[in-house]
């Protein structure tokens, strides 16, 4: 039986790993390659690595860094941050990355996803949506550029649009929950899993393996991603890379 995916999400900022809070740079949590090595040993299901500097600084993906990450990863890797062209996406996949994550470039023009999918296959095209509950009115707003630019369309409209394009997975990143370790936003996961017929991965808010268990129990099959949970330990957030072992994971899956 297919298992839900439990996915650490690592953010690159100033060449190191950073754990943001409410989308603001926070604590330095170490060297990306070193983290990958530890996650290899822990046999993680998948890994998401997002460079949060590229889009805001107008930089292209750093292919050297991605190559070294891909070489090290013994698990499927999803890379995002600054991808704006088909060529970049194809180059990244050719280096041994399984999936490319697009956000601002896809939101500017979803046909980019179709063009990329025509070469690498739709299963490798991921759209990341950074979302925040609307302050006025209903629904959720979608942001790009690390939460600073609001997209004119609301989340439900964009999910509808994504269904009409060649996208293999959507990662929903709840800005309000980022670094807060307050649990996943089920209103969001319910909305995304009913609107979409492609895999959905939730990110933002996980504080314990129990939060992951609850999310999986609710949706049976889902991607449960987390940042803080897998890099911090304890109330004072000491940096310690962790991940449930095979036995612990068995208890988290839907029966």
């Amino acid at each position: 039986m297919l298992r839900s995916r439990i996915i650490p999400c690592l953010l690159i900022h100033d060449d190191g790993l950073n754990k943001t809070e409410l989308f603001k740079p926070g604590k330095y949590v170490g060297d990306p390659l070193n983290a990958v090595k530890i996650f290899n040993e822990k046999e993680v299901d998948e890994l998401i690595v997002l460079d949060i500097d590229n889009t805001v600084q107008g930089k292209s993906p750093n292919m050297e860094v991605i190559q070294s990450l891909a070489n090290e990863c013994r698990m499927p890797l999803c890379y995002g941050g600054g991808i704006t062209t088909v060529e970049q996406a194809v180059h990244i996949i050719s280096m041994g990355v399984e999936k490319v994550a697009l956000s601002s470039a896809a939101l500017a023009d979803f046909s980019l996803c179709d063009k990329i999918a025509a070469v690498i296959g739709k299963q490798s095209v991921v759209v990341v949506l950074d979302v925040k509950k609307a302050r006025w009115g209903k629904g959720y707003n979608v942001f790009t550029h690390n939460g600073t630019k609001k997209h004119p369309n609301k989340l439900d409209v964009l999910l509808e649009e994504i269904s009409n394009h060649e996208v293999g997975e959507v990662v929903l990143n709840a800005i309000d929950n980022d670094g807060q370790m307050c649990g996943y936003n089920y209103e969001l996961s319910d909305l995304a899993t009913t609107k979409l017929n492609i895999p959905v991965t939730m990110l933002g808010g996980a504080s314990s393996y129990n939060d992951i268990k609850s999310l999986i129990a609710r949706h049976k099959i889902i991607g449960a991603a987390a940042g803080s949970l897998f890099v911090f330990k304890g109330r004072l957030k000491a940096v310690l890379i962790n991940y449930p072992n095979r036995e612990e994971r068995k208890k988290l899956y839907h029966k």
């Binding site: 839900s4 299901d45 013994r74 996949i93 070469v119 959905v200």
Partner: protein
């Protein structure tokens, strides 16, 4: 010597790295002269069916590859779309496959609660004996990411079956041909065991 086909449509580095760590001699095959001295082949494949088939056609490797596999019967291991292009055709594209196996590649048509692509870790059950799975942990399974599946139209020596809404063929063994829908190069210790078995076992 294991030859890994490097025709621009697969994760060759991850496979080479696993073999390097196992101290199993391997090299990338970029031109026909690279086939020299190779005893077994890995045929990776990532991308849409037509894109992968086109890349193989353009690589200039296809004829010699088919000769080695079908005439000289050297063992070959196809991975993901590397399995799918062994079929005659695919619903994903219009180009013909290699046709090594009497099969077609079909699109998953599943009830709405099954999201497609089939993405993540899944298990399998093996019918017949396939020593290539010796030492792998079925409960831990392998990593899949695909929207199309391999539908056999012939009896082969052994298959592995996986369930996602329907039961489909996730691995095959036909004489010197071994292939998996899942990604051993991204499946931690299970994948390493499988790639090692392919390298050290007698496959014919």
């Amino acid at each position: 010597m294991i030859g890994i086909l490097d025709y621009g449509a697969g994760n060759v580095q991850a496979i080479a790295r696993i073999y390097n760590n196992l101290r199993i001699p391997n090299k990338l095959i970029k031109s026909t002269s690279d086939f020299e001295g190779v005893e077994k082949l890995i045929l990776p494949g990532v991308g849409s069916f037509d894109a992968v088939v086109s890349k193989l056609n353009e690589s200039g490797l296809k004829e010699r590859l088919s000769e080695l596999v079908l005439v000289e019967k050297i063992p070959v291991f196809g991975i993901c779309v590397g399995l799918q292009i062994m079929a005659k055709s695919s619903e994903e594209g219009t180009l013909p496959g290699l046709g090594w196996i009497n099969a077609t590649v079909k699109k998953f048509k599943l009830p709405s609660e099954y999201h497609v692509p089939h993405m993540g870790w899944n298990t399998f059950s093996v019918s017949g004996t396939n020593e290539i799975f010796n030492g792998t942990d079925n409960e831990f399974g392998f990593y899949f990411v695909h929207s199309f599946y391999f539908d056999l139209d012939e009896e082969v020596d052994s298959t592995a079956r996986t369930t996602y809404g329907i039961e489909f063929t996730s691995a095959i063994r036909k004489g010197n041909i071994v292939a998996t829908q899942f990604h051993p190069e991204k499946s931690h210790s299970n994948g390493v065991t499988l790639l090692k078995n392919f390298a050290v076992q007698d496959i014919c």
